[in-house]
Subunit: 414 residues, 2 copies
């Protein structure tokens, strides 16, 4: 992709009141556009990042036997009334006489659908997920992509004959979420949290410890113990209640995922039953598991940036390689065009951004740092004379001057 043809440009202008670091950098880089508080457009660069996050999520969901579907946002009042959630603060209502509540979660709809297809123990277990736009009437929406009024959610629902089977799948999902976060280069703490309306047991959240987070997490500096402050009886400095060795620390956390055992709450409300081997009718036992792609994108920016811009991990970078031409000399341009061809052959056409714009070296290098593509390659008068290119990893300080062979050796090592 030639950078001169990109729809977006970098900018220094921020919309009024945009205080979240993640949104600031994403707007400056042309990844997103702010439409209103908590509502963003994903511009082509941002959508590329989001699609890579989604692809990783899909792979790990498919790997645990979940099938993808897509539910609607217009959810009739009768669904919410059946579960007792029509009068919820976060629900946007619409339609003549408020007939619909916009989907902020889909336990109601999926339970009603599943009741069509689950009738016997032979139909269990099942698991389905969607990657879908959610709406929540958040009174405060000032954390950029960390708390949207409209945002993308991957929600997974599982259906089981009994709690034992649910518990086993719950652990499977936790493992899958760990894999997703690992692949995204996010370190997250599996944190005990409140059950809400669903269950008396603790639920679990994945918390990325980061000052931008809106939650507070107490965790052990020695073992894996962690609790959301909302439910914890511990304080900073206490001895860890689990390993009895470490010390309890307190930090802000971004909740990037959560897992819930729903039990039979929704299956009872929506007549989701099955006949067991003895012909006895039972309620289906359910689980619900969420991970937020747009919030993950915001979290990645909070975790990976410096004063110059974003530093995307390779797995989600909008492009793998950024080729920057410096100077307007025809010979240099010709050489850069050649390098572009070589990079496209190696990375694929859709993975190389080529900055062939007529702009100053300073502007181009600043933009490259802001965009945060992992591998920056410079072709300039200097490099042409050396018969090399300049290669720099965004996360490192010093560039290397390399020929083609050295180039790919370095890149393939990472």
């Amino acid at each position: 992709m030639k950078q001169s043809e990109l729809f977006s440009k970098t900018t220094k202008n921020l919309p009024e009141g945009e205080t979240a670091k993640n949104a600031q950098l994403l707007i400056k880089g042309g990844f997103v556009n702010k439409s209103s508080a908590g509502v963003y457009s994903l511009l082509p660069l941002g959508l590329r990042v989001l699609n890579k996050i989604n692809a990783i999520i899909r792979e790990e969901m498919n790997a645990i036997g979940a099938e993808e579907l897509l539910m609607p946002s217009l959810i009739q009042k009768k669904y919410w009334e059946q579960s007792g959630r029509w009068n919820t603060d976060v629900i946007y209502k619409t339609g003549q006489g408020s007939d619909y509540g916009l989907g902020w979660t889909h336990e109601e709809v999926i339970s009603a659908i599943a009741a069509h297809f689950i009738n016997s123990y032979k139909d269990l277990p099942k698991a389905v997920y969607q990657i879908q736009t959610k709406f929540r009437a958040e009174p405060r929406a000032q954390a950029g992509l960390l708390r949207g009024r409209e945002f993308l959610m991957k929600d997974l629902y599982s259906f089981h004959a009994d709690e034992k089977d649910l518990n086993a799948y719950y652990q499977k999902v936790i493992k899958a979420y760990k894999k997703i976060l690992d692949r995204l280069c996010l370190k997250a703490r599996l944190t005990e949290a409140g059950g809400g309306a669903f269950t008396k047991e603790f639920t679990h959240e994945f918390q990325v410890l980061n000052p931008a987070g809106e939650d507070t997490v107490l965790y052990c500096d020695s073992c894996d113990w962690a609790q959301n402050k909302e439910i914890s009886k511990m304080e900073h400095g206490n001895k860890c209640p689990d390993c009895k060795k470490g010390s309890v620390k307190m930090e802000r956390g971004i909740e990037v995922a959560n897992v819930f055992k729903l039990g039979t709450k929704y299956s009872e409300a929506f007549n989701l039953n099955y006949l067991d081997k003895n012909g006895k009718k039972n309620s289906v036992v359910m689980g619900s598991y969420g991970i937020g792609p747009t919030r993950l994108m915001g979290t990645l920016v909070e975790e990976y940036h410096d004063e110059k811009g974003i530093i995307w991990p390779d797995a989600v970078a909008p492009y793998k390689a950024h080729l920057v031409l410096l100077g307007e000399d025809k010979k240099v341009k010709k050489e850069a065009d050649e390098v572009y061809k070589i990079l496209v052959r190696h990375f694929g056409e859709s993975e190389v951004l080529y900055d062939e714009r007529k702009a100053s070296a300073g502007e181009k290098l600043n933009d490259a740092d802001l965009l945060g593509i992992p591998w920056r390659t410079i072709v300039s008068d200097k490099t042409v004379k050396m018969k090399k290119v300049e290669l720099k990893r965004r996360s490192e300080k010093e560039p290397k001057f390399v020929n083609e062979k050295q180039y790919f050796k370095l890149i393939n090592k990472k």
Copy 2:
């Protein structure tokens, strides 16, 4: 994919009042679930079809240099007021005091975004598209996937320095839409239609002539002339006003796509200007082009079905091959498992549906006809004895008994 593990099942039960053939067959086959009038969930089988339609659309959009982005559904009142479209019948309003109108089209949002990035003639032309959920408060929503209150839309917007450049791109989009419809095996008439608020010229719609359509199309039986009845002065039986030879016919049509020249209506409302070579400020000239993936899916069912079920064209079938095991003999099962492996090797794992359920031959064959996967392969006691398999194309009547070599010869011919 083993059919016993599929989330959905076929059903004979239809929701009350579901009169549209496309929705009836899609519900019976387990492709979609009706949530309420004009609102459907895409079940895993249906989402597979939709994703294939979307992939074709994306390829053809990228081929004409359009970049993909994703705009929000929560669109603040101020955007709609700026264009004068806040008081539109089809808009769903939500928020405290109706602050948002749910996006039923995105000229407002894209114009506001483009104003950030288009400043000079050097920034033109540009084209961006999205595949996104739209909401329309349709009073009548009884045509299944042909007219939803919530539906998927691919909307493309283009930006030009002048009308000449817009006109050239308009023709490019028409060609791209023709390619998309060709690849989907849909014959559509390019039909002149009313300009609405946008322009004095005719706009164009792609109409698939089908009795399920909600539009009426007048067309020539000899040349390409076609007009929407709403604007036409012709009647059935008239001599064609274009070629003067053919005769004008009248039929129902499904509008699957449309193309509009917007001119400067939205660029003026949203200060979307550029400086030309002489430093003079001009309004950007815009075009808007829509094609509806979920409506296309409904149209495909209306066009391709018989009394037994759907007959998917290969390009969009949920699976390419359907393997059906008949009987419960262990030897036959073992042979079917072997054939499954061979088919997976040829088509890929995600393209073969394997009906290994314990069910009667009648039930399995009826389900296969209902699902409409293009190639049905039967392994039964009879075929094992013959050392062949039974291969039948869904669109043909007679099966063929073939060995492996003949099998792939037949399949690759199509």
